[in-house]
């Protein structure tokens, strides 16, 4: 069997037993990246030399009888939102083009310590803001199943590289669905762990109360393998949970008798594509056949999820992204070039209603209207470095946090956030898991929604509440459209119930073979 056809679990076992070298495994995936990624654009950086060097070192380690790490020889692709000291970390932004972090993210350090082989950094929506990967400053990712379509986002590169067998597993991050939605659209399995389960240190911050790193792979068993390495307490992330990490791979085969899965009838309203609805209902039937009970439940505030999310996340983002100031790292505008920008045209004599005037704002001077050369450098560096969606969210967050609007928008959203979390707490009194669609349609074309930011936000309907509540969720393929595009199913669970999410998905994947289907582009050349 070719290494690129093997599960991550089998691949790691084969390397440990000496049936496969890490070098051979790594070469096999690098060869596929070379052959396929010109059409898919899943990678922003491929570290051929580094990966081969690491793999050879792992093989030497084995030969000399030293103990191997739990992921020995496993090629891993890492979303470009995680810091890597030996590879550029750009977050798919011109702001960070060529940026080389001075340290590794905790998850990257754990992967290296486990003897995984990092093959490259994957494309994404800029700063993880988007659901289509079209917001990358370095071009969109093309969905391996249909190259004219969006792979989903923001971890679209991670999803696409696993779907096309360019890596057996990948690391993604999920702030409002950015692992689960592209996993669903690309026909792979993606887990967003409980908030705090995986360290965020070295994950470029988007919305810090929502961001969580997780595994993306071809199966629940492979996700379990990866999660076991990346989960766990990190004193470098004050929000990481100081709790033991279960052996996620050991309890997958226990039958689902007695497991109660909630079904939310409101998920099946207008807007859900009938083919998706059908596949999702079939998946519920499969879970019943596997011994689980399906119970209809109500999530009364689910409708408010997208509006709540699009206040909380942009507010946190506007604060987090203030660090890109052209001074410490990242893009800096050249002095004296470019247009004289608009803020200078503000008349200080015309205060904006509801806003507290900022001292010195809008003062005309020789810097084209900025109060100082420093402020001009900030404003122009940020204008040049950030793409349109990132600017939109910074503006929205800044507005919602500004004097006069804070209570109406940000504080209001935090109250609704509590109601949404309460819905989960109430639901998990009655059920062990909540099932449903991961996105309303199986695929949209590249460009189809990019002109309408609000339409793009509504794509996140089924995924954002998980993050607002801080619980875990997993998505995996549950069927295909007539046009041959994968349809995703989502399970959500109470905090720290990753073992049940993985077990339920694994049981489903033993009854079905949707997760084994590969796009035509992934077929081996004759």
């Amino acid at each position: 069997m070719q290494p690129s056809d093997m599960s991550a679990v089998d691949l790691v076992n084969a390397v440990r037993q000496g049936d496969l070298t890490a070098l051979r495994a790594t070469e096999a995936f690098l060869e596929r990246i070379e052959r396929l990624d010109g059409q898919i654009n899943a990678f922003l950086a491929v570290d051929r030399e580094g990966a081969l060097r690491t793999a050879a070192a792992i093989d030497d380690k084995r030969k000399s009888g030293k103990p191997l790490g739990p992921l020995a020889g496993l090629p891993v692709a890492v979303k470009d939102a995680l810091c890597t000291s030996d590879l550029p970390t750009t977050c798919a932004s011109k702001m960070l083009a060529g940026f080389r972090p001075p340290y590794d993210a905790e998850v990257v350090a754990r992967l290296r310590a486990a003897d995984a082989v990092i093959v490259g950094k994957t494309n994404m929506d800029e700063f993880a803001m988007g659901g289509s990967n079209e917001n990358s400053a370095f071009g969109p990712v093309h969905k391996p199943w249909a190259l004219t379509r969006a792979p989903g986002g923001s971890s679209g590169g991670s999803a696409a590289c696993v779907a096309a067998d360019m890596a057996p597993v990948a690391i993604g991050s999920d702030t409002g669905g950015s692992i689960r939605q592209p996993a669903g659209l690309c026909g792979i399995t993606g887990l967003k762990p409980t908030y705090g389960r995986v360290s965020r240190r070295g994950l470029v911050a988007f919305a810090s109360s929502l961001d969580q790193i997780g595994p993306m792979a071809r199966s629940a068993a492979d996700c379990a393998l990866l999660l076991e390495t990346i989960a766990g307490h990190d004193p470098g992330d004050a929000t990481s949970l100081d709790l033991p990490v279960p052996a996620y791979g050991t309890d997958l085969e226990r039958p689902l008798e007695g497991v109660r899965i909630g079904r939310v009838p409101a998920h099946f309203g207008a807007g859900l594509d009938p083919e998706v609805a059908h596949a999702v209902e079939e998946a519920f039937a499969a879970f019943r056949a596997a011994g689980a009970t399906v119970i209809d439940i109500d999530m009364p505030h689910a409708d408010a999820g997208v509006a709540t999310y699009y206040l909380v996340a942009p507010c946190e983002a506007s604060s987090n992204l203030a660090r890109y100031d052209g001074a410490h790292y990242g893009h800096r505008a050249e002095p004296g070039k470019g247009h004289r920008a608009e803020p200078g045209r503000l008349q200080p004599a015309q205060p904006v209603s509801g806003h507290r005037a900022e001292p010195g704002s809008g003062q005309g001077n020789a810097s084209g209207g900025f109060e100082s050369a420093l402020v001009e450098m900030y404003c122009r560096s940020r204008a040049e470095g950030f793409g349109p969606e990132v600017k939109r969210r910074i503006m929205l967050g800044t507005y919602a946090l500004s004097a006069g609007y804070y209570d109406a928008y940000y504080a209001k959203a935090l109250k609704v956030r509590r109601l949404i979390r309460q819905d989960y707490l109430d639901a998990f009194e009655k059920v062990d898991l909540i099932g449903g669609p991961v996105s309303a349609t199986a695929a949209f074309k590249l460009g189809e929604k990019s002109g309408d930011p609000l339409a793009m936000y509504l794509v996140d309907l089924y995924t954002v509440c998980t993050n607002l509540a801080g619980v875990g969720g997993i998505s995996f393929p549950c069927g295909f459209t007539k046009g041959g595009l994968p349809i995703g199913f989502q399970l959500q669970a109470p905090a720290l119930a990753e073992p049940l999410l993985l077990r339920a998905t694994d049981r489903y994947q033993h009854l079905t073979d949707w997760h084994r289907r590969r796009p035509a582009i992934a077929a081996r050349p004759r």
Binding site: A304, A307, Y310, E342, E358, R392, V471
Partner: protein, 100 residues
């Protein structure tokens, strides 16, 4: 809820984003539409609900107050657009001369 062009220009300055005339037009239209959408939360009764800023109950996580190694000056400066080996260099903070 619609925002005026002037509101958007003001927010742009608060956010330290230079906006061209064309940016202001687009941003005013798009932000008005998004703010109108998120404004639907107004209809939800939250009279006795406390805000939830964070999903965890964890509070005030401290580490021992002992010095630890951190980035060296050279590491901290390695990606700086301008520096002199010891400090980040920026344009004049006051006034408009002496851009670095």
């Amino acid at each position: 809820m619609s925002l005026s062009r002037n509101d958007v220009a003001k927010v742009g300055l608060l956010a330290r984003l230079a906006l061209s005339d064309a940016d202001l037009d687009t941003m005013t239209r798009e932000l008005s539409s998004i703010v109108g959408f998120v404004g639907q939360l107004e209809k939800i009764d939250t009279a006795d609900v406390a805000p939830l800023a964070h999903p965890l109950d964890t509070q005030n996580v401290f580490r021992a107050d002992v010095p630890k190694p951190s980035l060296t000056t050279a590491e901290a400066l390695q990606s700086a657009p301008r520096h002199d080996g010891e400090c980040f260099l920026v344009p004049a903070v006051l006034g408009d001369t002496g851009a670095a």
